[in-house]
Point group: C2
Chain length 225, copies 2
């Protein structure tokens, strides 16, 4: 059940994003087979190693998928935003855990239903393949970021998020510094330092810690090389 606060925060967030970003992954009637569901901030959507019976399409909010290592390190493999589909990188079992970063609404869709629809409907199959290759390109981009220096990683992250959240040069990040750090393979201290460094170089402004204004995309792009 949703609290009022949740509803408010979700609708506020949704209104900030442009319609195009919120579009479904599919135009096909897969939504008829989908169950809407809500996950409060920081709750688990699925665990690593569980049978991968469902896809989740993000309607609003944000999700992190991650692995915990024995020594306590956490590696975030991806963030999912409205329109994205969770569970594509999956065989029999989920290879990552997934948690809501903010209060999040999803459509839960049976994997088996998707697969059997794809078998019957070639246009749907094509769409499924297209979103999978897009996910693959994103994963490759993420890997490339991890080759780079700390300032480059942070600049690349900001550009990625501003592309995906799409709101003219002002981005409201849904995730904490710790989330960013675990996605970029850095510490929160380093992420913070790089942000202030970018601010001093007037590449960005930080009206609040989660709201980021991209003042000079060229500087950021030059950094990511």
């Amino acid at each position: 059940m949703l609290t009022d606060a949740f509803e408010n925060s979700v609708s506020r967030f949704s209104m900030r994003t442009t319609p195009s970003v919120c579009e479904s992954a599919f135009t096909h009637p897969i939504r008829l087979m989908a169950t809407p569901m809500s996950f409060p901030r920081n709750t688990e959507i699925h665990g690593e190693g569980e049978p991968a019976d469902y896809f989740y399409e993000i309607v609003s909010g944000a999700v992190r998928s991650f692995k915990m290592l024995m020594d306590g390190r956490r590696q975030i493999g991806a963030f999912y935003l409205p329109g994205d589909l969770i569970g594509l990188d999956t065989g029999e079992e989920y290879t990552f855990s997934a948690e809501a970063v903010t209060n999040t609404k999803v459509l839960v869709i049976k994997r088996s239903a998707v697969i059997s629809l794809a078998a019957r409907d070639s246009e749907f199959a094509r769409q499924l393949w297209t979103v999978t290759t897009r996910e693959l390109r994103r994963a490759r981009l993420h890997a490339l970021l991890l080759f780079k220096s700390a300032p480059e990683r942070v600049a690349g992250f900001l550009l990625e998020m501003s592309d995906r959240i799409q709101s003219n040069d002002e981005v409201e990040l849904p995730m904490s510094r710790q989330d960013i750090a675990d996605y970029l393979g850095l510490t929160i201290e380093t992420v913070s330092r790089m942000l202030t460094q970018l601010e001093k170089a007037s590449a960005i402004a930080l009206p609040t810690s989660k709201r980021i204004v991209l003042r000079n995309r060229e500087v950021l792009k030059r950094l990511v090389a």
Copy 2:
């Protein structure tokens, strides 16, 4: 044209790998639409930014896909071995360049032919999606490696290669130390040091610089956590 030396090296390599690894990505008659082609060591298969008109299925040899940064750094995004399909992470244009690591034979397949076959043949479409999700899982695994320390990356790399080349605990690496370094985001010196360190810990043996014997997989697995 193939030199004798090339033929020899290819067949030697092929005999070392088990049949299962050399199987085609597809069981379907896509091969009928494919053109066999050979690329000598270190030649370009396709360049970044070129129109992505073809898939390439590796028959024998090995391929690296990579990006060059302005400052001369090279980032290897993936290695492709027999049975793998190149070009899945691609929209209109190739997002990476691809070069033969060793003399390599491929099947060249028109993208348009694959896409139209997938539209007509749902079993083929399913196979195409399956190889794409496998590629996605590999890309995620690669990203995870890049979070880790140098010894962990090298250990993880050796385990990945021994999985993919499959030959009981003795692996003939097709790629140079520089290739490994550019895949792991390390320098050749560090890769070399980590290998000698693993050798001293009797986790591996190095009969020659490219041939690696996995003496103790447990030590390696413990490292990658």
